[in-house]
Amino acid sequence: MKKTLSLIAAAAALAGAAGAARAEAATYAIEPTHTYVTFEISHFGTSTNRGRFDKKEGSVTIDRAAKTGKAEITIDTTSINTGSDGFNKHLKSADLLNTEKNPTAKFVGDKFTFNGDKVAEIAGTLTLNGKTNPVVLKAQNFNCYMSPMIKKEVCGGDFDTTIVRSQYDIKFGLDWGFPDNVHLVIQVEGIKQ
């Protein structure tokens, strides 16, 4: 009797796991209030200048059973915010991001690497200033939780990558020693749809 019960329990557990696996592919809409890209670039080797893009939209699909995913995030480059009006204006100008000509940047990630059921890395492409190059975003944190406010699952984390701005034809100041490497720090959360 005891053996039969444990067999039933095992069968139920397996069925449950299989059911869960079938339902693992889920789409998450980017939560704009917890999704930001901040850039960091060295200022004369002394301190770090930071700026944040405030407007963005997109979605992420994750299939934790198949270990696949797809991310598409569009960033409004005119929403750059450094805390310094002069710096914002210069960043938007044709010297740098040329936002009048290229008002959006886009990240498309289609190669997801998992560590267990957590996203560890997303490889894809970044289009910025009209140029597209491969990028790999590495996760510093990744987690999912049930939001007590919206009663839905939220997944997200912190990612970072370093881009070479000359590959995006953003070359202002390179000759005076402003670095070519720009560190991107990304906070992202998405709400399960």
């Binding site: 200022h43 002394t46 930071r50 007590p148 997200g156």
Partner: protein, 197 residues
């Protein structure tokens, strides 16, 4: 003595090696005014153990005094609290409201520090002092991730600065709203550059 000559003399005399030749009174401390274009503090705290919330205050206001001959220093820095910018206005209002920073009653935060640790090259390695937020003071240590000085090409004056990191528990300042969903540990990332007076 001309500033350049005095620095040269300090270098040649090796500062502390011959203290009787270069007494403290002659090695005048240099005051640096914070450069509003390059003086900001970004705070970081974890949201539901998942992603990092960031917000920026600044420009920071104030002065740093460095007396390299001693060596010693002093920081007097003001954070205008209403400059908070998280990228989300609703969130800014919530943080500035009475449940958290109470910016109407406490419009400024302060960092006053006189305990400097210098690296072997004479750069600032750590600054320890008191951070006052929401009218409540607590000890705070800011550790340099990098520090350097340069001759500002456009300004024709010396510019010193760096990146500093500090950590605090927000509950120590009475800021408990949102615990434990939003973390208690706050990381402060301070960008600072000062222009020699």
């Amino acid at each position: 003595m001309h500033t350049g000559l005095r620095r040269l003399a300090a270098v040649l005399l090796g500062g502390g090696l011959l203290p009787w030749v270069a007494p403290a009174a002659q090695a005048a401390p240099q005051v640096y005014d914070l450069d509003p274009a390059h003086s900001f503090v970004t705070f970081e705290l974890l949201h539901f153990g998942t992603s990092t919330i960031r917000g920026r205050f600044g420009p920071l206001e104030g002065q740093v005094t460095l007396d390299r001959a001693q060596p010693a220093g002093e920081v007097r820095l003001t954070v205008p609290v209403a400059t908070l910018d998280t990228g989300w206005k609703v969130f800014d209002h919530r943080i500035l409201g009475p449940e958290l920073l109470a910016a109407d009653a406490f419009p400024a935060a302060y960092f006053i520090a006189t305990r400097f640790r210098f690296d072997p090259a004479g750069g600032v390695a750590e600054v320890r002092g008191e951070f006052t937020l929401r009218g409540h003071g607590e000890p705070l240590s800011l550790v340099a991730e990098r520090f350097s000085c340069r001759q500002g090409a456009r300004l024709q004056r010396e510019v010193c600065g760096g990146d500093f990191t500090g950590r605090l528990q927000r509950s120590d300042f009475g800021l408990t709203f949102g615990l434990p969903f939003v973390g208690n540990e706050v990381t402060l990332k301070v960008q600072v550059e000062g222009i020699a007076r």
